[in-house]
């Protein structure tokens, strides 16, 4: 992930397929694990952990959307709605049956996968911008349904209170506890995606993305794999919705509206389509950038503005900087942050002996 040999020295297929091409890769992963599982929660304050938690939730959703958009080449503007499907499934299971999280999370994911596969059916006939509109319709239909069916929404408020998850009899309340809870699922999601894209299914997805007619000719069942892509991607979205519900302690349809779908689409495009690291970069970037720009303006804004104008300037400038930086990074590297990172890495690959 963070290192490269200076050339191609592989002599066997086994070496080429190895998960860790160099011993340092193993150490890098271990170091990251220690950093995020031991060092971060011990050193960072509650506020910073809460920001990390928002990033973690976004990572799961971005990974899922990237499976669909980046790996399979289908588009969805309905992922916000799939999250709400997961969230309300879990919330209803908790309130009616008292189900624990290890039931509600897969259940929410599966329900979202089912709905997602249904919504994916038009993808068999339509592509690109037309598919975008079909999934947009799904977003609106699901929003409307949740909003108007009290059996799902739990009443006029369309919000259901959910107690925080319990693990071994301990209720996970503090940000640090929730951090570990969420981190577990993020690790699962990353490992799951990494394995998926290296599997037969993952390769079929990539074949469909690159040229679906060619994929069909070489024997890939497009019908099946496109629906698989929608289902798996929606499963991730559903899990994101459940995690979000547990994190906030409430399922509320206003948390999953159209702008959420757009935000997640922005994450995978900014991060880099068709890459796991890109999904992580994108999710962290979109979540952190508004916060970082505000910190920056709070600390240095007085250089440019009077104290009374500052309050109005910060939120507006933050939006402008956010939009500007997104355009900036996409112009610098249209293939996203992941590609930018690879460029940097490649530069240092034989540094300082490059010719």
């Amino acid at each position: 992930m963070f290192h490269r040999e200076s050339g191609v020295f592989k002599t066997s297929y086994a070496a080429d397929m190895a998960l860790y091409p160099l011993p340092i890769a193993k150490w890098a992963v271990a170091a990251f694990a220690v950093l995020f599982i031991v060092v971060a929660p011990l050193t960072l304050g509650e506020y910073y952990i809460s920001i990390l938690n928002l990033c973690l939730i976004a990572v799961v959703g971005a990974l899922g959307l990237n499976i669909l958009v980046g790996y399979t080449g289908q588009i969805s503007i309905g992922h916000g709605a799939f999250m709400s499907v997961g969230a309300y499934t879990a919330a209803n299971l908790v309130t009616h049956l008292g189900a624990p999280f290890w039931i509600t999370i897969p259940a929410g994911g599966l329900m979202a996968a089912l709905i997602g596969a249904l919504v994916g059916i038009p993808s068999l006939r339509i592509k690109g911008i037309y598919l975008a509109i079909a999934t947009l319709a799904a977003q609106l239909i699901i929003e409307w349904t949740i909003n108007h069916v009290p059996a799902i929404s739990g009443g006029a408020q369309a919000s259901i209170q959910v107690p925080r998850p319990t693990l071994f009899g301990v209720q996970l309340k503090s940000q640090v506890q929730l951090y570990f809870f969420l981190m577990g699922f993020v690790v699962l999601a990353i490992v799951g995606t990494a394995n998926l894209v290296r599997s037969r299914i993952g390769r079929a997805f990539v074949a469909i993305r690159d040229q679906d007619i060619a994929a069909e000719i070489i024997g890939i069942n497009i019908f099946r794999y496109k629906l698989w892509a929608f289902a798996i991607s929606s499963f991730y979205a559903g899990v994101t919705g459940v995690l979000y519900t547990y994190y906030l302690g409430i399922a509320n349809y206003e948390q999953f509206q159209l702008n959420v779908s757009i935000d997640y689409l922005a994450m995978v495009i900014i991060g880099g389509l068709g890459s796991i690291l890109g999904s992580i970069f994108g999710a962290v970037f979109v979540t952190l950038l508004p916060i970082l720009t505000r910190w920056f303006l709070e600390d240095y804004g007085w250089l440019f503005f009077s104290q009374s104008d500052l309050l109005n300037a910060i939120p507006n400038l933050r939006l402008i900087m956010f939009g500007g930086l997104i355009i900036f990074f996409l112009v610098v590297e249209p293939e996203g942050l992941n590609r930018l990172w690879r460029n940097i890495r490649n530069y240092f690959r034989v540094w300082p002996f490059s010719y």
Partner: protein, 420 residues
């Protein structure tokens, strides 16, 4: 290798730029609390869906706090309000709340119904009192079940009850056989008053029809035609948000329906709505409901103007608004009052969230020259009574039509009790 080197160099420069920005950011927000200062956290929406409210309301909060501080603060303590814009997004709102908590806030101003719902559990865990005036969870008027959430102003349920009472008074004291149309923005907040309207229907015997306006509510010609041509109600109650109140006013006017038979609930009631509808002559006669006094004749507004004058500045343009701006004063005043009560009770020590909660629960008759209703907040009643006033758009401004009143408290109480 040469061909990509320019690009690579560019990449490295940008990588370093990102790194530098990140490390600047990672030094973290510098807002350390000064000694002798009490911090209130605030969510604000100056850039999101409801910025039409946010830009005025948040400015008013700061102005009020500045006036309080210029007069020596509260019991010797200076007050500071840290406002964070959340664009009406829930994750951003959560971050804003955690930030305020980290900086040591003792009370919190929530902005937005989904945020009130998302924060509800956290507030109890963190023992942080928070206000959600005029929005949020109606059932949180019950202080026993929602110990740290304070609606402080009339909830949607109280607003609906007051609207029916006003309709009754307008239609000659009897609603039997009368037709009332309820026009609402089709989201949870819009639907919330319906149970009250239905419960009162059984008592008062009016005919009720509800008309949903799908978001974003900028197209409602069909609903208005349906109301004015087919249903022909004796009175219309409008519960709309954002741009839609102005669209509604325009459409009623176009359909030739008298606006003096239309009442807007609190978020369909600002000067900005009238202006967006085409000005005061279009909206002439339109009734609006307020949970904070509207108008310019309040001593606190004069004090703020005097404060600006003393600094040789013109009063801010946000003050041209007398509805939303006054609501900002209302919210800030209640927080300051709660902190004052807490300071008095604990002998001038820096209060904790728990003590400020008690401070809120002993708010009694903070009138602010008539801007605030005769609130009486107790441990059981976090709404403070559910008071509203009705104003009418008349000759270029809002004219007060009623004093503070509340209606059908027993029906609202029954609904609160029934709420899950």
């Amino acid at each position: 290798m040469k061909s990509i080197s320019a690009r690579s160099v560019a990449a490295i420069v940008f990588g370093l730029a990102v790194g530098a920005t990140a490390s600047l950011g990672l030094t973290g927000p510098a807002a350390a609390q000064q000694k002798g200062e009490i911090l209130i956290g605030e969510q604000c929406d100056r850039t999101g869906a409801t910025q039409i409210v946010g830009i005025r309301l948040c400015a008013a909060v700061q102005d009020y706090i500045n006036v309080v501080n210029s007069k020596g603060g509260v019991e010797g303590w200076k007050i500071r309000v840290d406002e964070i814009d959340h664009e009406y997004k829930v994750p951003a709102g959560m971050e804003a709340y955690e930030r305020a908590k980290k900086d040591g806030a003792v009370s919190y101003m929530i902005y937005g119904t989904p945020h009130a719902q998302a924060l509800n559990q956290k507030l109890n865990e963190d023992k942080m009192p928070a206000t959600s005036p005029g929005f949020g969870i109606s059932a949180s008027a019950d202080g026993v079940r929602y110990p740290y959430l304070f609606p402080v102003a009339a909830t949607y349920w109280s607003q609906a009850a007051a609207a029916v009472q006003f309709t009754k008074d307008k239609l000659g004291g009897n609603l039997k056989g009368k037709k009332i149309a309820y026009v609402f923005y089709d989201n949870p907040a819009g639907r919330e008053p319906i149970p009250i309207l239905e419960a009162l229907q059984k008592i008062e015997g009016y005919e009720l029809r509800t008309f949903a306006v799908p978001p974003p509510g900028v197209e409602m010609g069909a609903q208005v035609l349906d109301i004015t041509q087919r249903f022909r109600p004796d009175f219309v109650i409008n519960h709309l948000f954002g741009r839609s109140p102005s669209v509604a006013i325009k459409e009623y006017k176009r359909a030739g329906y008298s606006l003096s038979k239309v009442l807007g609930l609190v978020w369909a009631s600002a000067e900005a709505d009238i202006e967006a509808a085409g000005g005061w002559q279009v909206a002439e006669g339109y009734y609006t409901m307020q949970f904070a006094g509207a108008g310019d004749d309040f001593p606190i507004r004069q004090e703020i103007k005097a404060m600006y004058k003393a600094q040789n500045k013109a009063p801010p343009k946000e003050m041209d608004d007398t509805v939303v701006y006054n609501r900002g004063l209302f919210i800030a005043a209640l927080h300051v009052e709660a902190i004052r009560n807490a300071l008095k009770a604990n002998g001038g020590q820096k209060p904790t969230g728990e003590q400020v909660k008690k401070g809120f629960e002993s708010i009694n008759d903070v009138t602010l020259g008539g801007l605030v209703p005769p609130l009486k907040i107790t441990a059981a009643d976090h709404e403070g009574g559910g008071w509203v006033q009705i104003f009418q758009a008349k000759g270029g401004k809002f004219v007060k039509m009623t004093e503070w009143f509340r209606a059908y408290p027993e029906i609202v109480a029954a609904e609160i009790k029934k709420a899950p």
